[in-house]
Protein backbone atom coordinates (compact mmCIF):
# COMPACT_ATOMS: atom_id res chain seq x y z
CA UNK A 1 0.00 0.00 0.00
CA UNK A 2 1.47 3.28 -0.96
CA UNK A 3 0.91 6.62 0.69
CA UNK A 4 -2.64 7.84 0.37
CA UNK A 5 -3.41 5.21 -2.23
CA UNK A 6 -1.34 6.86 -4.94
CA UNK A 7 0.81 4.38 -6.74
CA UNK A 8 4.29 5.07 -8.04
CA UNK A 9 4.81 5.14 -11.75
CA UNK A 10 6.54 1.78 -12.06
CA UNK A 11 3.43 0.10 -10.79
CA UNK A 12 1.15 2.00 -13.11
CA UNK A 13 3.33 1.09 -16.04
CA UNK A 14 2.87 -2.61 -15.57
CA UNK A 15 -0.88 -2.23 -15.85
CA UNK A 16 -0.67 -0.53 -19.21
CA UNK A 17 -0.84 -2.01 -22.68
CA UNK A 18 2.94 -1.83 -22.87
CA UNK A 19 3.25 -3.72 -19.64
CA UNK A 20 0.93 -6.44 -20.81
CA UNK A 21 2.83 -6.86 -24.05
CA UNK A 22 5.99 -7.32 -22.08
CA UNK A 23 4.41 -10.02 -19.95
CA UNK A 24 3.04 -11.71 -23.02
CA UNK A 25 6.39 -11.64 -24.68
CA UNK A 26 8.15 -13.22 -21.74
CA UNK A 27 5.45 -15.76 -20.97
CA UNK A 28 6.65 -19.26 -21.75
CA UNK A 29 3.28 -20.61 -22.74
CA UNK A 30 2.66 -17.77 -25.14
CA UNK A 31 6.10 -18.23 -26.65
CA UNK A 32 5.51 -21.90 -27.33
CA UNK A 33 2.06 -21.25 -28.73
CA UNK A 34 3.28 -18.52 -30.99
CA UNK A 35 6.11 -20.70 -32.27
CA UNK A 36 3.74 -23.52 -33.11
CA UNK A 37 1.43 -21.23 -34.98
CA UNK A 38 4.26 -19.60 -36.81
CA UNK A 39 5.57 -22.98 -37.94
CA UNK A 40 2.11 -23.97 -39.11
CA UNK A 41 1.71 -20.66 -40.89
CA UNK A 42 5.10 -21.05 -42.56
CA UNK A 43 4.22 -24.53 -43.81
CA UNK A 44 0.89 -23.32 -45.13
CA UNK A 45 2.40 -20.42 -46.99
CA UNK A 46 5.32 -22.38 -48.41
CA UNK A 47 3.24 -25.34 -49.52
CA UNK A 48 0.60 -23.06 -50.93
CA UNK A 49 3.23 -21.27 -52.99
CA UNK A 50 5.53 -24.07 -53.98
CA UNK A 51 3.54 -27.25 -54.09
CA UNK A 52 3.51 -28.76 -57.55
CA UNK A 53 0.25 -30.48 -56.73
CA UNK A 54 -3.23 -29.10 -56.42
CA UNK A 55 -5.63 -30.05 -53.67
CA UNK A 56 -7.79 -31.83 -56.15
CA UNK A 57 -6.70 -33.54 -59.30
CA UNK A 58 -6.64 -37.27 -59.16
CA UNK A 59 -3.62 -39.30 -60.01
CA UNK A 60 -4.64 -42.90 -60.13
CA UNK A 61 -1.10 -44.01 -60.76
CA UNK A 62 -0.09 -43.00 -57.26
CA UNK A 63 -2.86 -44.17 -55.04
CA UNK A 64 -2.12 -44.60 -51.36
CA UNK A 65 1.61 -44.16 -51.48
CA UNK A 66 3.32 -43.90 -48.09
CA UNK A 67 5.25 -40.73 -47.17
CA UNK A 68 8.26 -40.13 -49.41
CA UNK A 69 10.38 -37.29 -50.63
CA UNK A 70 8.01 -36.29 -53.38
CA UNK A 71 4.99 -36.76 -51.12
CA UNK A 72 6.02 -35.92 -47.54
CA UNK A 73 2.64 -36.94 -46.22
CA UNK A 74 1.99 -39.64 -48.76
CA UNK A 75 -1.01 -39.82 -51.09
CA UNK A 76 -4.64 -40.64 -50.52
CA UNK A 77 -7.08 -42.98 -52.25
CA UNK A 78 -7.36 -40.65 -55.23
CA UNK A 79 -3.63 -40.20 -55.57
CA UNK A 80 -3.73 -36.68 -54.31
CA UNK A 81 -0.83 -35.33 -52.28
CA UNK A 82 -1.88 -35.44 -48.68
CA UNK A 83 0.34 -32.59 -47.49
CA UNK A 84 -1.10 -30.23 -50.07
CA UNK A 85 -4.58 -31.27 -49.15
CA UNK A 86 -3.85 -30.82 -45.47
CA UNK A 87 -2.59 -27.34 -46.13
CA UNK A 88 -5.59 -26.40 -48.22
CA UNK A 89 -7.85 -28.14 -45.81
CA UNK A 90 -6.37 -26.22 -42.93
CA UNK A 91 -7.03 -22.99 -44.77
CA UNK A 92 -10.62 -24.02 -45.39
CA UNK A 93 -11.16 -25.08 -41.80
CA UNK A 94 -9.57 -21.94 -40.47
CA UNK A 95 -11.63 -19.78 -42.74
CA UNK A 96 -14.86 -21.44 -41.69
CA UNK A 97 -13.93 -21.21 -38.05
CA UNK A 98 -12.79 -17.61 -38.34
CA UNK A 99 -15.92 -16.49 -40.19
CA UNK A 100 -18.19 -18.21 -37.73
CA UNK A 101 -16.37 -16.89 -34.74
CA UNK A 102 -16.29 -13.38 -36.13
CA UNK A 103 -20.02 -13.39 -36.74
CA UNK A 104 -20.83 -14.93 -33.39
CA UNK A 105 -18.39 -12.65 -31.66
CA UNK A 106 -19.84 -9.50 -33.16
CA UNK A 107 -23.43 -10.43 -32.45
CA UNK A 108 -22.66 -11.70 -28.97
CA UNK A 109 -20.60 -8.67 -28.08
CA UNK A 110 -23.24 -6.24 -29.24
CA UNK A 111 -25.94 -8.07 -27.31
CA UNK A 112 -23.77 -8.25 -24.22
CA UNK A 113 -22.72 -4.63 -24.31
CA UNK A 114 -26.22 -3.31 -24.78
CA UNK A 115 -27.48 -5.58 -22.06
CA UNK A 116 -24.71 -4.70 -19.64
CA UNK A 117 -24.95 -0.98 -20.25
CA UNK A 118 -28.66 -0.52 -19.76
CA UNK A 119 -29.39 -3.26 -17.31
CA UNK A 120 -32.89 -3.51 -16.02
CA UNK A 121 -35.58 -5.58 -17.64
CA UNK A 122 -33.88 -5.59 -21.03
CA UNK A 123 -30.82 -7.11 -19.47
CA UNK A 124 -32.71 -9.69 -17.46
CA UNK A 125 -34.82 -10.93 -20.37
CA UNK A 126 -31.99 -10.94 -22.90
CA UNK A 127 -29.66 -12.86 -20.65
CA UNK A 128 -32.27 -15.50 -20.02
CA UNK A 129 -32.45 -16.12 -23.76
CA UNK A 130 -28.71 -16.25 -23.85
CA UNK A 131 -28.70 -18.70 -20.98
CA UNK A 132 -31.17 -20.83 -22.88
CA UNK A 133 -28.95 -20.89 -25.93
CA UNK A 134 -25.95 -21.60 -23.77
CA UNK A 135 -27.54 -24.58 -22.15
CA UNK A 136 -27.83 -26.54 -25.39
CA UNK A 137 -25.11 -29.14 -25.82
CA UNK A 138 -22.81 -27.86 -28.54
CA UNK A 139 -23.04 -30.68 -31.01
CA UNK A 140 -26.78 -31.05 -30.60
CA UNK A 141 -27.18 -27.40 -31.42
CA UNK A 142 -24.89 -27.73 -34.40
CA UNK A 143 -26.70 -30.77 -35.72
CA UNK A 144 -30.10 -29.12 -35.36
CA UNK A 145 -28.82 -26.18 -37.31
CA UNK A 146 -27.49 -28.45 -40.02
CA UNK A 147 -30.92 -29.97 -40.35
CA UNK A 148 -32.51 -26.57 -40.72
CA UNK A 149 -29.96 -24.99 -42.99
CA UNK A 150 -28.72 -27.93 -44.96
CA UNK A 151 -25.16 -29.11 -45.33
CA UNK A 152 -22.11 -27.21 -46.44
CA UNK A 153 -19.41 -24.92 -45.16
CA UNK A 154 -21.69 -21.93 -44.80
CA UNK A 155 -23.94 -23.79 -42.42
CA UNK A 156 -20.97 -24.87 -40.36
CA UNK A 157 -19.89 -21.26 -40.03
CA UNK A 158 -23.36 -20.27 -38.93
CA UNK A 159 -23.44 -23.09 -36.42
CA UNK A 160 -20.14 -21.93 -34.95
CA UNK A 161 -21.47 -18.41 -34.83
CA UNK A 162 -24.59 -19.43 -32.98
CA UNK A 163 -22.63 -21.51 -30.50
CA UNK A 164 -20.37 -18.62 -29.65
CA UNK A 165 -22.97 -15.89 -29.31
CA UNK A 166 -23.68 -16.76 -25.64
CA UNK A 167 -19.95 -16.88 -24.76
CA UNK A 168 -19.29 -13.43 -26.09
CA UNK A 169 -22.57 -12.06 -24.82
CA UNK A 170 -21.88 -13.10 -21.24
CA UNK A 171 -18.30 -11.96 -21.25
CA UNK A 172 -18.98 -8.58 -22.79
CA UNK A 173 -21.99 -8.04 -20.58
CA UNK A 174 -20.16 -8.55 -17.33
CA UNK A 175 -17.23 -6.43 -18.42
CA UNK A 176 -19.48 -3.68 -19.69
CA UNK A 177 -21.32 -3.65 -16.42
CA UNK A 178 -18.07 -3.32 -14.55
CA UNK A 179 -16.64 -0.66 -16.82
CA UNK A 180 -19.83 1.36 -16.77
CA UNK A 181 -19.16 2.17 -13.13
CA UNK A 182 -15.74 3.61 -13.87
CA UNK A 183 -15.20 7.30 -13.40
CA UNK A 184 -14.18 7.99 -16.95
CA UNK A 185 -17.47 6.62 -18.19
CA UNK A 186 -19.35 8.86 -15.78
CA UNK A 187 -17.24 11.74 -17.02
CA UNK A 188 -18.21 10.86 -20.59
CA UNK A 189 -21.90 10.79 -19.69
CA UNK A 190 -21.61 14.16 -18.06
CA UNK A 191 -20.04 15.55 -21.19
CA UNK A 192 -23.23 14.65 -22.95
CA UNK A 193 -21.89 11.76 -25.00
CA UNK A 194 -24.61 9.59 -26.49
CA UNK A 195 -24.80 6.01 -25.23
CA UNK A 196 -23.67 4.69 -28.60
CA UNK A 197 -20.55 6.80 -28.51
CA UNK A 198 -19.85 5.80 -24.93
CA UNK A 199 -20.15 2.12 -25.76
CA UNK A 200 -17.95 2.44 -28.78
CA UNK A 201 -15.29 4.87 -27.66
CA UNK A 202 -15.09 4.48 -23.92
CA UNK A 203 -16.12 0.96 -23.10
CA UNK A 204 -15.22 -1.19 -26.07
CA UNK A 205 -11.49 -0.38 -26.14
CA UNK A 206 -11.26 -1.35 -22.52
CA UNK A 207 -13.03 -4.67 -22.79
CA UNK A 208 -11.51 -5.74 -26.10
CA UNK A 209 -8.59 -7.69 -24.69
CA UNK A 210 -10.45 -10.54 -22.95
CA UNK A 211 -12.73 -10.75 -25.95
CA UNK A 212 -9.70 -11.32 -28.13
CA UNK A 213 -8.55 -14.09 -25.84
CA UNK A 214 -11.94 -15.68 -26.18
CA UNK A 215 -11.64 -15.36 -29.94
CA UNK A 216 -8.32 -17.11 -30.17
CA UNK A 217 -9.48 -19.90 -27.90
CA UNK A 218 -12.65 -20.20 -29.93
CA UNK A 219 -10.76 -20.57 -33.21
CA UNK A 220 -9.36 -23.86 -32.04
CA UNK A 221 -12.70 -25.16 -30.99
CA UNK A 222 -14.28 -23.98 -34.21
CA UNK A 223 -11.82 -26.10 -36.13
CA UNK A 224 -12.67 -29.11 -34.03
CA UNK A 225 -16.35 -28.53 -34.57
CA UNK A 226 -15.91 -28.17 -38.29
CA UNK A 227 -13.76 -31.25 -38.41
CA UNK A 228 -16.34 -33.18 -36.48
CA UNK A 229 -19.22 -32.12 -38.69
CA UNK A 230 -17.30 -32.68 -41.89
CA UNK A 231 -16.19 -36.04 -40.61
CA UNK A 232 -19.78 -37.21 -40.50
CA UNK A 233 -20.45 -35.69 -43.86
CA UNK A 234 -22.51 -32.73 -42.76
CA UNK A 235 -19.96 -30.04 -43.27
CA UNK A 236 -17.65 -29.36 -46.13
CA UNK A 237 -18.46 -31.55 -49.07
CA UNK A 238 -15.75 -33.44 -50.96
CA UNK A 239 -13.75 -33.00 -53.11
CA UNK A 240 -13.07 -29.70 -51.34
CA UNK A 241 -10.57 -30.61 -48.72
CA UNK A 242 -11.07 -29.75 -45.10
CA UNK A 243 -9.44 -31.33 -42.15
CA UNK A 244 -12.59 -33.18 -41.24
CA UNK A 245 -13.21 -34.40 -44.76
CA UNK A 246 -9.70 -35.74 -44.93
CA UNK A 247 -10.03 -37.54 -41.68
CA UNK A 248 -13.22 -39.13 -42.93
CA UNK A 249 -11.33 -40.28 -46.00
CA UNK A 250 -8.43 -41.52 -43.99
CA UNK A 251 -10.66 -43.47 -41.66
CA UNK A 252 -11.98 -45.58 -44.51
CA UNK A 253 -8.65 -47.09 -45.41
CA UNK A 254 -6.84 -46.81 -42.14
CA UNK A 255 -5.60 -50.39 -42.29
CA UNK A 256 -3.94 -50.00 -45.62
CA UNK A 257 -2.71 -46.44 -45.33
CA UNK A 258 -2.67 -45.22 -41.76
CA UNK A 259 -0.66 -42.12 -42.61
CA UNK A 260 -3.54 -40.19 -44.10
CA UNK A 261 -5.66 -40.19 -40.98
CA UNK A 262 -2.73 -40.02 -38.59
CA UNK A 263 -0.88 -37.20 -40.23
CA UNK A 264 -4.04 -35.21 -40.81
CA UNK A 265 -5.06 -35.76 -37.21
CA UNK A 266 -1.65 -34.69 -35.98
CA UNK A 267 -1.83 -31.57 -38.10
CA UNK A 268 -5.16 -30.70 -36.58
CA UNK A 269 -3.74 -31.30 -33.12
CA UNK A 270 -0.73 -29.14 -33.89
CA UNK A 271 -2.78 -26.17 -35.03
CA UNK A 272 -5.21 -26.37 -32.19
CA UNK A 273 -2.47 -26.78 -29.62
CA UNK A 274 -0.81 -23.68 -30.97
CA UNK A 275 -4.02 -21.68 -30.88
CA UNK A 276 -4.85 -22.80 -27.38
CA UNK A 277 -1.41 -22.03 -26.00
CA UNK A 278 -1.51 -18.64 -27.64
CA UNK A 279 -4.87 -17.98 -26.06
CA UNK A 280 -3.60 -19.14 -22.67
CA UNK A 281 -0.60 -16.90 -22.96
CA UNK A 282 -2.82 -13.95 -23.79
CA UNK A 283 -5.02 -14.73 -20.83
CA UNK A 284 -2.04 -14.91 -18.50
CA UNK A 285 -0.80 -11.58 -19.76
CA UNK A 286 -4.11 -9.95 -19.02
CA UNK A 287 -4.78 -11.47 -15.63
CA UNK A 288 -4.29 -9.50 -12.45
CA UNK A 289 -0.57 -9.77 -12.83
CA UNK A 290 -0.20 -6.92 -10.51
CA UNK A 291 -0.81 -9.36 -7.71
CA UNK A 292 2.34 -11.24 -8.54
CA UNK A 293 4.41 -8.11 -8.95
CA UNK A 294 3.51 -6.73 -5.57
CA UNK A 295 2.93 -9.99 -3.72
Amino acid sequence: MMAGGMMPRWMKRSRSAGGMWHTFRTNRVAQVGTTIILIAAAVIVLVGLFSPYGPTGNDYMNILRPPSLSHPFGTDSFGRDVLTRVVYGAQVSLLISFAGLLLGGLIGTVIGMVSGFWGGVLDAVTMRFIDLLYSFPTYVLALCLMLLLGYGSRSVSLAIALIYVPNFARLSRSMTEATRAENYVTAARLMGQSPARILLREILPNIAAPLLVQFSAGLGFGIILEAGLSFVGLGVQPPTPSLGVMMADGKDYFQRAPWVLTLTGLSVAWIILGLNLLGDGLRDALDPRLRRRLS
Binding site: G4, R9, K12, A17, Y184, L190
Partner: protein, 334 residues
Protein backbone atom coordinates in the same frame (compact mmCIF):
# COMPACT_ATOMS: atom_id res chain seq x y z
CA UNK B 1 -28.62 36.13 19.69
CA UNK B 2 -31.85 34.25 19.32
CA UNK B 3 -31.52 32.01 16.29
CA UNK B 4 -34.43 32.15 13.89
CA UNK B 5 -35.30 28.83 12.32
CA UNK B 6 -34.92 28.82 8.57
CA UNK B 7 -37.63 27.54 6.34
CA UNK B 8 -36.25 24.86 4.04
CA UNK B 9 -34.85 26.40 0.95
CA UNK B 10 -34.70 29.92 2.30
CA UNK B 11 -31.53 31.52 1.09
CA UNK B 12 -28.88 32.21 3.65
CA UNK B 13 -28.36 35.70 2.48
CA UNK B 14 -30.61 37.67 0.15
CA UNK B 15 -27.53 39.24 -1.35
CA UNK B 16 -26.61 36.03 -3.10
CA UNK B 17 -29.83 35.32 -4.90
CA UNK B 18 -30.24 34.26 -7.64
CA UNK B 19 -28.31 31.12 -6.87
CA UNK B 20 -26.38 29.16 -9.44
CA UNK B 21 -27.33 25.92 -7.72
CA UNK B 22 -29.92 25.56 -5.04
CA UNK B 23 -30.45 22.19 -3.42
CA UNK B 24 -33.58 22.49 -1.36
CA UNK B 25 -34.44 20.06 1.39
CA UNK B 26 -32.86 17.20 -0.51
CA UNK B 27 -33.25 13.67 0.77
CA UNK B 28 -31.67 10.72 -1.02
CA UNK B 29 -32.42 7.16 -0.01
CA UNK B 30 -30.73 3.96 -0.99
CA UNK B 31 -32.50 0.69 -0.54
CA UNK B 32 -30.93 -1.92 1.64
CA UNK B 33 -31.11 -5.63 1.31
CA UNK B 34 -32.83 -6.96 4.37
CA UNK B 35 -32.69 -10.37 5.91
CA UNK B 36 -35.95 -12.08 6.68
CA UNK B 37 -35.45 -11.37 10.33
CA UNK B 38 -34.96 -7.71 9.67
CA UNK B 39 -38.08 -7.59 7.56
CA UNK B 40 -40.13 -9.19 10.27
CA UNK B 41 -38.74 -6.74 12.77
CA UNK B 42 -39.84 -3.93 10.48
CA UNK B 43 -36.35 -2.57 10.06
CA UNK B 44 -36.37 0.15 7.40
CA UNK B 45 -35.74 -0.95 3.85
CA UNK B 46 -33.64 2.02 2.96
CA UNK B 47 -31.17 4.30 4.55
CA UNK B 48 -30.94 8.00 4.03
CA UNK B 49 -27.60 8.93 2.58
CA UNK B 50 -28.67 12.57 2.58
CA UNK B 51 -31.42 13.93 4.79
CA UNK B 52 -33.13 17.30 4.35
CA UNK B 53 -30.07 19.06 3.06
CA UNK B 54 -30.14 22.68 2.01
CA UNK B 55 -27.18 23.85 0.06
CA UNK B 56 -26.89 26.79 -2.28
CA UNK B 57 -23.98 27.97 -4.38
CA UNK B 58 -23.78 31.43 -5.82
CA UNK B 59 -22.18 32.29 -9.14
CA UNK B 60 -18.39 32.52 -8.79
CA UNK B 61 -18.51 31.20 -5.28
CA UNK B 62 -16.43 28.34 -3.89
CA UNK B 63 -18.40 26.23 -1.47
CA UNK B 64 -16.88 23.43 0.53
CA UNK B 65 -18.68 20.31 1.60
CA UNK B 66 -16.85 18.70 4.47
CA UNK B 67 -17.54 15.39 6.16
CA UNK B 68 -16.10 12.04 6.99
CA UNK B 69 -16.80 8.86 5.06
CA UNK B 70 -20.47 8.02 5.20
CA UNK B 71 -21.44 11.63 5.74
CA UNK B 72 -23.26 11.76 2.42
CA UNK B 73 -21.12 14.49 0.93
CA UNK B 74 -20.33 12.57 -2.23
CA UNK B 75 -23.97 11.58 -2.56
CA UNK B 76 -25.08 15.17 -2.21
CA UNK B 77 -22.53 16.25 -4.78
CA UNK B 78 -23.72 13.61 -7.21
CA UNK B 79 -27.32 14.54 -6.57
CA UNK B 80 -26.58 18.14 -7.45
CA UNK B 81 -25.12 16.76 -10.67
CA UNK B 82 -28.29 14.74 -11.05
CA UNK B 83 -26.40 11.49 -11.22
CA UNK B 84 -28.83 10.53 -8.51
CA UNK B 85 -32.43 11.63 -8.29
CA UNK B 86 -33.49 12.94 -4.90
CA UNK B 87 -36.34 11.17 -3.21
CA UNK B 88 -37.49 14.39 -1.64
CA UNK B 89 -36.70 18.01 -2.23
CA UNK B 90 -35.54 19.83 -5.31
CA UNK B 91 -32.43 20.76 -7.20
CA UNK B 92 -32.57 24.06 -9.05
CA UNK B 93 -29.78 24.93 -11.47
CA UNK B 94 -29.56 28.36 -13.08
CA UNK B 95 -33.17 28.93 -12.20
CA UNK B 96 -34.37 25.70 -13.78
CA UNK B 97 -35.79 22.82 -11.74
CA UNK B 98 -33.74 19.82 -12.79
CA UNK B 99 -34.95 17.50 -10.06
CA UNK B 100 -36.85 15.09 -12.24
CA UNK B 101 -35.38 15.56 -15.69
CA UNK B 102 -34.51 12.50 -17.75
CA UNK B 103 -31.05 11.87 -19.05
CA UNK B 104 -31.72 13.27 -22.48
CA UNK B 105 -32.87 16.59 -21.07
CA UNK B 106 -30.06 16.61 -18.57
CA UNK B 107 -27.40 16.57 -21.27
CA UNK B 108 -27.92 20.21 -21.98
CA UNK B 109 -27.65 21.00 -18.29
CA UNK B 110 -24.54 18.87 -17.92
CA UNK B 111 -22.64 20.94 -20.38
CA UNK B 112 -22.77 23.67 -17.77
CA UNK B 113 -21.29 21.42 -15.09
CA UNK B 114 -18.10 19.43 -14.75
CA UNK B 115 -16.52 17.00 -12.30
CA UNK B 116 -13.04 16.27 -11.04
CA UNK B 117 -12.84 12.93 -9.29
CA UNK B 118 -10.75 11.68 -6.43
CA UNK B 119 -8.75 9.06 -8.26
CA UNK B 120 -6.90 10.75 -11.07
CA UNK B 121 -6.06 7.51 -12.84
CA UNK B 122 -9.56 6.11 -13.11
CA UNK B 123 -11.12 9.35 -14.30
CA UNK B 124 -9.36 9.15 -17.65
CA UNK B 125 -9.89 6.44 -20.22
CA UNK B 126 -6.69 4.36 -20.06
CA UNK B 127 -6.83 3.68 -23.79
CA UNK B 128 -7.07 7.31 -24.83
CA UNK B 129 -4.20 9.70 -25.14
CA UNK B 130 -4.34 12.90 -23.19
CA UNK B 131 -5.14 14.72 -26.40
CA UNK B 132 -8.13 12.47 -27.03
CA UNK B 133 -9.37 12.83 -23.47
CA UNK B 134 -9.24 16.59 -23.78
CA UNK B 135 -10.70 16.73 -27.27
CA UNK B 136 -13.70 14.53 -26.54
CA UNK B 137 -15.82 17.19 -24.84
CA UNK B 138 -15.34 19.39 -27.89
CA UNK B 139 -16.61 16.79 -30.29
CA UNK B 140 -20.16 16.78 -29.06
CA UNK B 141 -22.72 19.07 -30.59
CA UNK B 142 -21.16 21.70 -32.85
CA UNK B 143 -17.94 20.07 -34.01
CA UNK B 144 -15.09 22.49 -34.52
CA UNK B 145 -12.47 21.69 -37.13
CA UNK B 146 -9.32 19.75 -36.39
CA UNK B 147 -7.15 22.81 -36.20
CA UNK B 148 -9.40 24.50 -33.71
CA UNK B 149 -9.64 21.38 -31.60
CA UNK B 150 -5.86 21.11 -31.49
CA UNK B 151 -5.50 24.74 -30.58
CA UNK B 152 -8.00 24.48 -27.78
CA UNK B 153 -6.41 21.32 -26.41
CA UNK B 154 -3.02 23.00 -26.35
CA UNK B 155 -4.27 26.09 -24.64
CA UNK B 156 -6.01 23.90 -22.08
CA UNK B 157 -2.71 22.15 -21.33
CA UNK B 158 -1.03 25.48 -20.93
CA UNK B 159 -3.70 26.76 -18.64
CA UNK B 160 -3.14 23.96 -16.17
CA UNK B 161 0.63 24.10 -16.37
CA UNK B 162 1.29 20.94 -18.34
CA UNK B 163 4.04 20.67 -20.96
CA UNK B 164 2.99 20.27 -24.59
CA UNK B 165 4.51 16.82 -24.82
CA UNK B 166 1.90 15.51 -22.42
CA UNK B 167 -0.56 15.58 -25.29
CA UNK B 168 0.52 12.33 -26.83
CA UNK B 169 0.96 10.46 -23.60
CA UNK B 170 -1.25 7.90 -21.96
CA UNK B 171 -2.62 8.25 -18.42
CA UNK B 172 -0.33 5.59 -16.99
CA UNK B 173 2.68 7.62 -18.03
CA UNK B 174 1.75 10.61 -15.95
CA UNK B 175 1.99 11.21 -12.24
CA UNK B 176 -1.02 11.74 -10.00
CA UNK B 177 -0.53 15.48 -9.91
CA UNK B 178 -0.26 15.70 -13.67
CA UNK B 179 -3.36 13.57 -14.09
CA UNK B 180 -5.39 15.83 -11.88
CA UNK B 181 -4.25 18.76 -13.99
CA UNK B 182 -5.53 16.92 -17.04
CA UNK B 183 -8.79 16.20 -15.27
CA UNK B 184 -9.15 19.84 -14.40
CA UNK B 185 -8.29 20.88 -17.94
CA UNK B 186 -10.93 18.55 -19.27
CA UNK B 187 -13.47 19.88 -16.82
CA UNK B 188 -12.82 23.41 -18.02
CA UNK B 189 -12.93 22.66 -21.75
CA UNK B 190 -16.52 23.75 -22.21
CA UNK B 191 -16.35 26.68 -19.78
CA UNK B 192 -18.82 25.29 -17.28
CA UNK B 193 -20.55 27.40 -14.69
CA UNK B 194 -19.97 24.86 -11.93
CA UNK B 195 -17.13 22.46 -11.24
CA UNK B 196 -17.57 19.80 -8.59
CA UNK B 197 -14.32 18.51 -7.15
CA UNK B 198 -14.89 15.30 -5.21
CA UNK B 199 -11.89 14.76 -2.91
CA UNK B 200 -9.75 15.99 -5.76
CA UNK B 201 -6.52 16.17 -3.77
CA UNK B 202 -6.98 13.36 -1.27
CA UNK B 203 -5.13 10.79 -3.31
CA UNK B 204 -2.25 13.03 -4.22
CA UNK B 205 1.11 12.99 -2.58
CA UNK B 206 1.52 15.69 -0.01
CA UNK B 207 4.32 17.46 -1.84
CA UNK B 208 2.11 17.78 -4.90
CA UNK B 209 -1.08 18.68 -3.11
CA UNK B 210 -0.32 22.34 -2.65
CA UNK B 211 0.46 22.73 -6.34
CA UNK B 212 -2.95 21.41 -7.29
CA UNK B 213 -4.75 23.38 -4.61
CA UNK B 214 -3.10 26.56 -5.79
CA UNK B 215 -4.02 25.68 -9.34
CA UNK B 216 -7.65 25.29 -8.37
CA UNK B 217 -7.60 28.55 -6.55
CA UNK B 218 -5.96 30.47 -9.37
CA UNK B 219 -8.16 29.08 -12.09
CA UNK B 220 -11.27 29.76 -10.12
CA UNK B 221 -10.25 33.35 -9.62
CA UNK B 222 -9.30 33.80 -13.30
CA UNK B 223 -12.25 32.08 -14.89
CA UNK B 224 -14.76 33.08 -12.26
CA UNK B 225 -16.37 29.66 -11.99
CA UNK B 226 -18.30 28.30 -9.06
CA UNK B 227 -16.80 25.35 -7.28
CA UNK B 228 -18.25 22.73 -5.03
CA UNK B 229 -15.26 21.34 -3.19
CA UNK B 230 -15.98 18.07 -1.45
CA UNK B 231 -13.38 16.99 1.07
CA UNK B 232 -12.90 15.35 4.45
CA UNK B 233 -10.18 17.80 5.39
CA UNK B 234 -11.43 20.99 6.97
CA UNK B 235 -8.04 22.65 6.58
CA UNK B 236 -8.09 22.16 2.84
CA UNK B 237 -11.63 23.48 2.72
CA UNK B 238 -10.61 26.51 4.67
CA UNK B 239 -7.82 27.27 2.25
CA UNK B 240 -9.80 27.13 -0.90
CA UNK B 241 -13.43 27.85 -0.07
CA UNK B 242 -15.46 30.97 0.53
CA UNK B 243 -18.12 29.11 2.45
CA UNK B 244 -18.10 25.67 4.03
CA UNK B 245 -20.89 23.25 4.90
CA UNK B 246 -20.22 20.46 7.37
CA UNK B 247 -22.08 17.17 7.01
CA UNK B 248 -22.60 14.37 9.44
CA UNK B 249 -24.45 11.20 8.59
CA UNK B 250 -26.46 12.78 5.83
CA UNK B 251 -27.27 16.04 7.51
CA UNK B 252 -25.74 19.43 7.11
CA UNK B 253 -25.00 20.53 10.65
CA UNK B 254 -23.28 23.84 10.10
CA UNK B 255 -22.45 26.23 7.29
CA UNK B 256 -20.43 29.41 7.54
CA UNK B 257 -17.85 31.50 5.73
CA UNK B 258 -14.64 29.50 5.77
CA UNK B 259 -12.58 31.70 8.07
CA UNK B 260 -15.40 32.04 10.52
CA UNK B 261 -16.00 28.31 10.66
CA UNK B 262 -12.35 27.61 11.11
CA UNK B 263 -11.77 30.11 13.88
CA UNK B 264 -15.02 29.85 15.74
CA UNK B 265 -16.84 26.62 15.00
CA UNK B 266 -20.03 26.25 16.91
CA UNK B 267 -21.37 22.79 16.24
CA UNK B 268 -19.75 20.14 18.49
CA UNK B 269 -19.00 18.00 15.45
CA UNK B 270 -17.19 20.79 13.63
CA UNK B 271 -15.14 21.36 16.72
CA UNK B 272 -14.35 17.68 16.94
CA UNK B 273 -13.09 17.75 13.37
CA UNK B 274 -10.67 20.48 14.28
CA UNK B 275 -9.41 18.82 17.44
CA UNK B 276 -6.05 17.13 17.32
CA UNK B 277 -4.09 14.74 19.46
CA UNK B 278 -2.47 17.55 21.36
CA UNK B 279 -5.55 19.39 22.46
CA UNK B 280 -5.84 19.64 26.17
CA UNK B 281 -9.38 19.24 27.38
CA UNK B 282 -10.44 17.92 24.03
CA UNK B 283 -13.69 16.75 25.39
CA UNK B 284 -15.05 16.76 21.91
CA UNK B 285 -13.16 13.64 20.98
CA UNK B 286 -14.68 11.05 23.19
CA UNK B 287 -12.81 7.99 24.21
CA UNK B 288 -15.80 5.82 23.54
CA UNK B 289 -17.77 6.53 20.43
CA UNK B 290 -21.39 5.57 20.61
CA UNK B 291 -23.17 4.07 17.68
CA UNK B 292 -25.14 6.47 15.56
CA UNK B 293 -28.74 5.45 15.10
CA UNK B 294 -30.20 7.36 12.18
CA UNK B 295 -33.68 6.13 12.98
CA UNK B 296 -33.75 7.35 16.54
CA UNK B 297 -35.63 10.53 17.29
CA UNK B 298 -33.55 13.55 18.00
CA UNK B 299 -30.30 14.99 16.80
CA UNK B 300 -28.24 12.73 14.61
CA UNK B 301 -25.12 13.58 16.60
CA UNK B 302 -26.48 12.98 20.07
CA UNK B 303 -24.76 9.63 20.65
CA UNK B 304 -21.38 11.24 20.02
CA UNK B 305 -21.90 14.62 21.50
CA UNK B 306 -20.28 15.80 24.72
CA UNK B 307 -22.71 18.70 24.92
CA UNK B 308 -25.84 16.62 24.77
CA UNK B 309 -28.82 17.85 26.72
CA UNK B 310 -32.28 16.42 27.20
CA UNK B 311 -33.77 18.39 24.35
CA UNK B 312 -31.38 16.74 21.89
CA UNK B 313 -33.25 13.49 22.12
CA UNK B 314 -36.60 14.85 21.19
CA UNK B 315 -36.26 16.10 17.65
CA UNK B 316 -33.53 16.91 15.20
CA UNK B 317 -32.64 20.56 15.73
CA UNK B 318 -33.87 22.86 12.98
CA UNK B 319 -31.34 24.79 10.96
CA UNK B 320 -31.14 28.30 12.30
CA UNK B 321 -29.36 31.43 11.19
CA UNK B 322 -26.85 32.45 13.85
CA UNK B 323 -24.83 34.99 11.93
CA UNK B 324 -24.94 36.92 8.68
CA UNK B 325 -24.13 33.78 6.73
CA UNK B 326 -23.78 31.22 9.47
CA UNK B 327 -26.33 28.44 9.83
CA UNK B 328 -26.34 25.89 12.62
CA UNK B 329 -28.45 22.90 13.60
CA UNK B 330 -27.82 22.47 17.30
CA UNK B 331 -29.68 22.89 20.56
CA UNK B 332 -26.60 23.45 22.64
CA UNK B 333 -23.83 24.89 20.57
CA UNK B 334 -20.46 26.04 21.85
Amino acid sequence: MAPEPLSPGAPVSRRHAPWLVDAQNVTVRFSKKRTLGAMLANAPASFRAVAEADLAIAPQEVVGLVGESGSGKTTLGRTILRLYEPDEGAVVFEGKDITHLRERQLRAVWRRMAVVFQDPLSSLNPRHTIHTSLATPLRIGARPGVREVNARVRSALQRVGLPMDAEGRYPHELSGGQLQRVALARALMLSPALVIADEAVSKLDVSVRSQILNLFKDLQADLKISFLFITHDLHVANYICDRVAVMFFGRIVETAPARELFRAPRHPYTRALLATIDDRGADVVQARRGVVDPNAAGCIYQSQCPRRVARCGEAHPPTALVGAEHTLACFNPG
